[in-house]
Symmetry: D2
Subunit: 150 residues, 4 copies
């Protein structure tokens, strides 16, 4: 198998393996739409239990969606990676029923550190959140035995 096809296969298998035990993403109604090495695209619909006291999307839930996209992107090589820190800004407010898309892109990766940018947009292209996550790679595989050495 060519190297890039192998990397793609790993990214997809990691996403499947992570999602199966990811109670948080499942509970939020997150769908994984696209996975590539260092990249993830997810969707989520804004529900009533995601609204804050101002009747707009609670920042915690746009963060949770962005953070989930970040997690799938930075774990896509099948090396366990965790968030070292994140920051977020909210250019526009989300509303009940909005279909949100989170796209996580790798900005930099070297050694055990990485930087990923995530945008969260509505069905109208409005930017609900801009998120930057810094990752660190730990020991271990996300999905054990995924990388075969034949």
């Amino acid at each position: 198998m060519p190297k890039s096809a192998e990397a793609q296969r790993i990214a997809e298998a990691v996403a499947e393996g992570m999602f199966a035990r990811d109670h948080a993403a499942q509970g939020l109604g997150v769908t994984i739409v696209e996975m590539r090495p260092g990249y993830a695209r997810l969707t989520m619909v804004v529900r009533q239990d995601m609204l804050n006291g101002h009747e707009t999307l609670h920042g915690g839930f746009s963060f949770a969606l962005a953070d989930t996209a970040f997690a799938y992107a930075c774990n896509s090589y099948n090396h366990v990676a965790v968030a070292a820190g994140c920051d977020i800004v909210y250019p526009a407010a989300g509303h009940l029923g909005d279909l949100l898309t989170a796209e996580a892109v790798e900005v930099h990766r070297a050694g055990r550190s990485g930087v990923y940018d995530v945008s969260v947009t509505t069905q109208n292209g409005e930017i609900v959140a801009l998120f930057r996550g810094k990752s660190r790679v730990l020991q271990g595989e996300v999905v054990a035995g995924l990388t075969h050495h034949a």
Copy 2:
């Protein structure tokens, strides 16, 4: 009523009014333990649907708790305030059943801008998250008619 008692009354009434319509905080099982002007202390128990694919607390939920404490603290004067940006680091991981306490403290407030620091700790005093939120005040009251001018 002395000025500080009035400010305290307003902070508590704002919290009550916000929480009544805060579907997100209710759905997360958040309890408001203490409110003061510029200050909020909240608790939340880590549930299974808050765990990520590594079987620890999903960063989105520690963020959501911290962000909620921030929102109550920066709205405690009954002027509508929203998050302009936030950042978070995760010193330790949270686990199923942990009783988390989020304490939001006002670091700075001038004009329409504010800075609030939130710590999220477990029942054992471990720090699960350190969050810094920047707020901006908009037009309007959180709870209409709360501030009587007799």
Copy 3:
């Protein structure tokens, strides 16, 4: 003059006007290489008085270069804009004599708020800093009388 040519003319005139009174950028040896609406590219050479106690580029100076590129990009429309907040990570260390290039790109702009990403790279393409700046527009023009209404 077509609208885009006019915007380009304004961006260049703003850069010239700002730089003439920008003692900090002059003192740092910053050169403005390219200006466009919402965009700036600058260079700076690492001097001995920019090294820290570990004999690498002091984070304050990679920040200063990135922050300067951000300032020129977010002021390029000739509306006075200031930093509301910034964050930075340092993927690699800079060294004495490095020729650094800072490129500021507009990620988002709506109303009075903007988000700009800046990368600072060496002559070898190593990333010394990734910076994200949030701007707010105030009253006033950067260069008075620049925008003619004939």
Copy 4:
């Protein structure tokens, strides 16, 4: 020597050793006023070559001062520590001739990671910058042979 006196001796010796080779801090006119384990207090006067095109203190220089205080605080144990990431907000503007004080306080330290908060204030108590730095400890001592094992 009691343990806390030893820690204090180390913190002061680290500061002296770092400053002797810290061209950047020297060039900025920084004075180290107080050192303790996990703590540093520094001063700097705003000079003309620190002013931006708006004739206020360039954000890069308030950052450089805050970042320097952070560096001294997180290196005070004589284990080499570097910045993993920083963020800053600017509540008020600094002006020519202001005497700035930067105070760095340790918020959290565990394993190889730390979080430090720095405030930069003027002689009138105005807050010019609020900075949060995340540190990582590397191999090696800041000042070789400082910690005697007799």
